[in-house]
Amino acid sequence: MGIIYWNVKAIHAIIFLWSYLTFAQFLKSGTMQQHNANTFGASIIYNWLSYLVDYPNKNFLYSNEVHFLISLLESLRLTQNAHGIQAFASTPDALLRLQLEYTRLFIQDGKRPAAAPPYASFYLEHRLWGESTEEIMRLYKTHGFNLPPNEIPDALCWELAFLAHVAEQGDMQTEGLMLQHMRTWFPIFQEYVETHAEHIFYPTLVKLIQILIQKEDS
C-alpha cells in the first residue's frame, strides 16, 4: 500500500521542505545553521519521532507534531493511515484511547506482558540494561550525549534523540553506526507492534521509523 513510493530520499525531500515551515523551537543554536538543510532536517525528524514515541500527554493530539504526521502521510500517499489517524484524533476520548494503547503495547498489559517494550536490549538480550545497552551508553558518552540517569539508554525515544544529536552535528559515521544498531532489533519490535496494536497510530509510526532507519540502498 503505497510503500513503493517510500525511500529515504523521499523522506529527506519532505524534511527539506518541512524544515523551513515548522519547528521553530529547534532553530536554536548558531552552529546548527551551518549544516545543510538536509542533515538539519534529519535531526528534526529524529527528534520529532522521538517525541511521538514518548507517552502521549495532554494536547498531544492537537500538537503540530501530530498535524505534521498527518500531512506527511498524505504526501507519502498513505492516505488510509492519514485518514485513520485524523479521524481517530477527532474522537472525544482519543487521548485516553491512545494512552491505553501506549500503556498496553509498551509498558504493561493487564492480559499479557507488554507486547513491545520499546528497549533495544529487550530484543537482543531479553532484559533491560544489558551488555548491548552499555555499548550504546558508551557511544552516547563519547559524543557528549547525556541523559538523565533514571532513563534507559536504549529506549527507542533515546536512540532517536541520539540520532538527532549526531545528525545535527553532521556526524554521519556515528549516525550510520546507530542506524546499524537499530536495524538489529527494530524489525522484531515493529512486528510486535503491528501484531498487537489495536489501532493504526503506532503501526504507522513504527513503519515511518523503519523506513527512516533502513539501509539507503534497500
Binding site: G110, R112, N150
Partner: protein, 748 residues
C-alpha cells in the same frame, strides 16, 4: 642437516632465552600493542559502590555493586562485612535482574478495567496521589480508621505502616512475616523467655544441632548457613526431624522422617526422657526456670513409647536423641526455626522447643541459644502519633498475637462487614494472593473493597486487583533499612555492626520511594502536620543518629560501621534476668493458663489426613524467596519449575513415573491451575508430597514466571488458625494427583 621441527625451534629458543632475558622487553611491547578491548562479562573499569543491603530475601547481606557507565554489572558481598563477608547467594547475585527486569513496574498506573481483570492507564504521580488521598480519605470519613487495612512487607513498607497505624489509627495491619511465617515463633519465645528469638543460634560452636522441619541449605541465608556449616565442620552432630529427606537431612547423623504435624509429641517425649532419667540441667532449671512441676506433668503425658506410635518414629530413636542432647549439653543448638506456621498448633510446638533449650541449660552459652547482641539505633516516629483505639482492635481474641491483627480477622471483616466494614486496603510489597491461605477468600475480600492501592517493584498476583498501582525503587535504588547485628566470639570481645541500605544505582523509570509516596498521601488525607521526615536520607540519618552515625560517616566507612561490643552475649555464671511475669523462664506460664490455654507445652494432633490423600508439604529452594524472585531471568533459568516429590513406593502403586506431569487436587476440591513434573524419590514419607514454594504465578504481565510450575498456595484452602496467636497454619492441606484428567488417590 635434519629439518628443523617446531619442537626443535622452541627448545632452542628456550635455551637462548635463559642467557638473554627477553621477557621484560616483550611484556612492555605487548602492553603497548594491547587492543582497547573489554571482553564480555569483564568487570574492567567498574566502580565499586558500597552500602547496598540485599533484599532478595530478608537476611539482608551487605553488598558492593560494580557499576560501569551507569550499568550495574555485578553484585558482591561487602568485603568489610563481618556477617556475610564477600559471599552472597544465587538470589543475591541475581538482584541485578530484578532492577533490570523488563516486566518491572515503571510508572504510576490506574486500573480502568476491573479488579482481577485490569486495564491499565499510565497516569502522572500527581494524579495517582490525588486519587489515593481522595479515596482513602473518603473511606476514613465514612467508616473510621478501622475501615482501612494494610498488608505491608519489607523495609520500604515500614514508614507507611507506621503512618496507617499511628496516624490514621487502624489496627488492621497484617504482615505475612508475622501471621504466615515467624510470628508464632517470636511469640512463643517471648512468652517463655521474655524476649523474642531469631534463628541466629550459635550453630558454629555447637556440639549438637537440632533442626525440626528446617530448609537450611535449601533456603540460603548466607551467614546463617555459614554458621551451620562451621558447626558441622567442627564436628557437631546433626539431628533432623523432617518427613522429607531435605538438604539438612542429607547431612544428618540422625534423620527422623516424622509423621507430619506431630513434632510436639516427639519434643515432649524427648523432654520426658530427660526429666525421668534426670538428664536435664538441674542447676540451670532450678536457678532460672519456673513451673517445673506442672511442666514435668505435661511431658509425662508423652512417654517415648506413646510418642513413637503417634509420630511414626522408633522409640529407640527418641531415646537416642534425648541422650545425645544430654551428653552434649549445654552446647546444643535447638534451632527455633523460621517459617513456623504449620498446622495451627504451632505456638505449643515452639514453646516446646524453647523449653527443651532451657532443660538443657543451652541458653547464652557457646553453641546454644545465644543471639548476638545488636548495637542500639534510634527510630522515626510520626508526630503526635497514637496507638489505635483498643475498641476497634479485633486482635484481642488471640491474646498472644504478634504485632498487628490476624489476617483471618481482617479478611473476614472485609467480606462479612463484621464486626465492622473494611473498605480500603493498602498492599505494600506483599503478594497477599500467594501468602495467605485460601485464595478465593482473599480475592473476595479484594473485590469487596471500595479502594485498593498496591505499591510494589514487580507485578504480582495481587497487583492485578489494584485500582491504583504505584512503582517503588528496588532495594538497589533506595535508602531504607538499617541492618545491624553482631558476631559472637569464644575468646575475645563480641563484635557489632551497623550498615544502612544505600542506593547502588539511580532509580530507573519513574518510580518513587515510600517516604515520598506516604508523605504525599498523608498530605492529601489532611495529616501533613504529622509528617516526621521529608525524605529517605533524613529518615535514615535520624535512625543512625543515636549510634553517633550518619549516612556520610557510613559512606566514609565503606558502608559498614564495626565496633567491639561492650557486653558479651554468652552468660557468665548464672545471674540471668528474664522479662517474663515471673522473672524466670516460664516452663509453665500462668498467663497462658489464666487465658484458657495449656500453661505447659501441650500437643494437639494436626487435622487428620483424609484417606487417599497425602499431606501437602512445601518449602524453599535456593533460587527463590519472594514473589519478586519468580520472574527473575537468571534464577528462573536455574530451576524453571518446581518438581513434585512423591514417595517411590507410592508412585509404583499409583502407576506414576519420574518425569510424569501431574496436577494436584486438594481436600476442598481445588485443582492447581498448572501441572508440574514428578520427582519419584525414597526421600519422602509415604503419606506426604513436597512442592517447592515460589512458582505458578498467575499474573499475565510476568513474562517469565507466569504459569511456570505449580502454585502450592492455590491448594492451601484450610483455614487453620493457631488459637493463641491467630497465625495461619498453612501445612494442613491434603492432595491427590490428577494425571491426564484422571484423579489418582494415594493407596493409604
Amino acid at each position: 642437516m635434519a629439518e628443523i621441527t617446531r619442537r626443535h625451534f622452541l627448545q632452542a629458543a628456550a635455551l637462548a632465552a635463559a642467557s638473554i632475558p627477553l621477557s621484560r622487553a616483550i611484556k612492555v611491547y605487548a602492553e603497548e600493542k594491547k587492543p582497547d578491548f573489554v571482553p564480555k562479562g569483564s568487570f574492567e573499569d567498574t566502580q565499586s559502590i558500597a552500602g547496598g543491603v540485599c533484599e532478595m530475601c530478608f537476611w539482608r547481606c551487605q553488598l558492593v555493586g560494580k557499576v560501569r557507565n551507569g550499568r550495574l554489572v555485578k553484585l558482591e558481598g561487602n568485603p568489610k562485612s563481618i556477617d556475610n563477608g564477600k559471599a552472597i547467594c544465587a538470589r543475591g547475585n541475581a538482584g541485578i535482574m530484578l532492577a533490570y527486569d523488563a516486566n518491572r513496574l515503571k510508572y504510576p498506573m490506574k486500573n480502568i478495567g476491573e479488579r482481577g481483570n485490569p486495564k491499565w492507564q499510565r497516569i502522572s504521580w500527581e494524579e495517582a496521589l490525588d486519587e489515593c488521598g481522595k479515596r482513602l480519605k473518603a473511606v476514613l470519613d465514612k467508616y473510621g480508621p478501622q475501615g482501612i487495612s494494610m498488608f505491608p512487607h519489607g523495609a520500604s513498607a515500614k514508614y507507611p505502616m507506621d503512618f496507617f497505624e499511628t496516624v490514621v489509627g487502624t489496627p488492621n495491619i497484617s504482615e505475612a512475616s508475622f501471621f504466615q511465617c515467624r510470628g508464632v515463633r517470636d511469640q512463643a519465645y517471648l512468652t517463655t523467655y521474655g524476649h523474642t528469638c531469631d534463628e541466629n543460634v550459635d550453630m558454629a560452636n555447637a556440639k549438637v544441632i537440632f533442626l525440626t522441619g528446617s530448609h537450611l541449605g535449601e533456603n540460603i541465608h548466607v551467614s546463617h548457613t555459614m554458621s551451620y556449616l562451621k558447626g558441622l565442620e567442627n564436628g557437631a552432630k546433626l539431628i533432623v526431624i523432617d518427613p522429607r529427606f531435605s538438604a539438612a537431612a542429607s547431612k544428618a547423623d540422625i534423620w527422623i522422617p516424622i509423621r507430619p504435624g506431630t513434632d510436639t509429641a516427639l519434643l515432649l517425649a524427648i523432654m520426658n526422657h530427660l526429666i525421668t532419667k534426670g538428664l536435664y540441667d538441674k542447676a540451670f532449671v532450678q536457678a532460672n526456670c519456673t513451673g517445673f512441676e506442672e511442666f514435668k506433668k505435661a511431658c509425662s503425658l508423652w512417654p517415648a513409647k506413646k510418642a513413637a506410635k503417634e509420630c511414626d518414629v522408633p522409640e529407640a530413636q527418641i531415646i537416642k536423641i534425648a541422650e545425645l542432647l544430654a551428653q552434649n549439653a549445654p552446647n546444643v543448638a535447638i534451632h527455633p526455626g523460621r517459617f513456623s506456621s504449620w498446622y495451627g498448633n504451632d505456638f505449643q510446638r515452639i514453646r516446646a522447643l524453647a523449653c527443651l533449650t532451657a532443660l538443657l541449660g543451652a541458653y547464652k552459652v557457646p553453641g546454644g541459644f545465644t543471639n548476638p547482641i545488636s548495637p542500639k539505633t534510634g527510630s522515626v516516629k510520626w508526630k503526635d502519633a497514637a496507638e489505635p483505639d483498643e475498641k476497634i482492635n479485633m486482635a484481642e481474641k488471640w491474646p498472644f498475637h504478634p504485632p498487628g491483627t490476624p489476617t483471618d480477622a481482617i479478611r473476614n471483616a472485609g467480606i462479612t462487614g463484621k464486626p465492622y466494614p473494611i473498605k480500603a486496603t493498602v498492599i505494600w510489597g506483599q503478594n497477599i494472593v500467594q501468602t495467605i491461605p485460601n485464595q478465593a477468600m482473599t480475592i473476595e475480600f479484594l473485590k469487596k473493597q471500595d479502594f485498593v492501592l498496591c505499591v510494589d517493584v514487580m507485578p504480582t498476583d495481587v497487583t492485578m486487583y489494584a485500582d491504583i498501582l504505584l512503582p517503588e525503587p528496588t532495594y538497589l535504588e533506595r535508602y531504607d533499612v538499617i541492618k545491624k547485628g553482631g558476631k559472637l566470639s569464644t575468646n575475645g570481645p563480641d563484635k557489632q555492626y551497623i550498615a544502612a541500605r544505600m542506593p547502588i544505582i539511580t532509580p530507573l523509570h519513574d518510580v518513587k520511594d515510600s517516604i515520598f509516596i506516604t508523605n504525599e498521601i498523608a498530605k492529601r488525607m489532611g495529616f501533613e502536620r504529622h509528617i516526621p521526615v521529608q525524605n529517605q536520607e533524613e529518615y535514615v540519618n535520624k535512625i543512625l543518629e543515636p549510634a553517633g552515625l550518619s549516612l556520610e560517616k557510613l559512606r566514609a566507612e565503606n558502608g559498614i560501621h564495626i565496633e567491639e561490643s561492650t557486653k558479651k552475649a554468652y552468660r557468665n555464671g548464672n545471674e540471668l534476668e528474664f522479662e517474663t511475669p515471673s522473672g524466670k523462664i516460664e516452663l509453665f506460664s500462668k498467663e497462658l493458663a489464666e487465658k484458657g490455654f495449656a500453661g505447659a507445652p501441650a500437643y494437639t494432633p494436626p487435622p487428620k489426613r483424609p484417606a487417599g490423600y497425602a499431606h501437602l508439604l512445601f518449602g524453599r529452594v535456593p533460587v527463590h524467596s519472594f514473589t519478586r524472585t519468580q520472574n527473575n531471568l537468571w534464577l528462573h533459568n536455574e530451576m524453571p519449575e518446581n518438581a513434585l516429590w512423591i514417595n517411590d513406593k507410592m508412585a509404583a502403586k499409583m502407576g506414576i513415573k519420574d518425569g510424569d506431569r501431574v496436577k494436584l487436587v486438594n481436600q476442598d476440591g481445588l485443582t492447581s491451575a498448572t501441572d508440574t513434573v514428578v520427582l519419584v524419590t525414597p526421600g519422602i514419607k509415604t503419606d506426604a508430597v513436597f512442592l517447592p514454594h515460589g512458582y505458578g504465578m498467575r499474573n499475565p504481565m510476568l513474562e517469565i514466571a507466569k504459569d511456570k510450575g505449580m502454585d502450592d498456595q492455590s491448594l492451601c484452602s484450610a483455614n487453620c488458625v493457631d488459637p493463641q496467636t491467630g497465625t495461619h497454619g498453612i501445612r494442613a492441606n491434603f492432595v491427590r494427583l490428577v494425571k491426564d484428567g484422571k484423579t489418582i488417590s494415594f493407596p493409604i
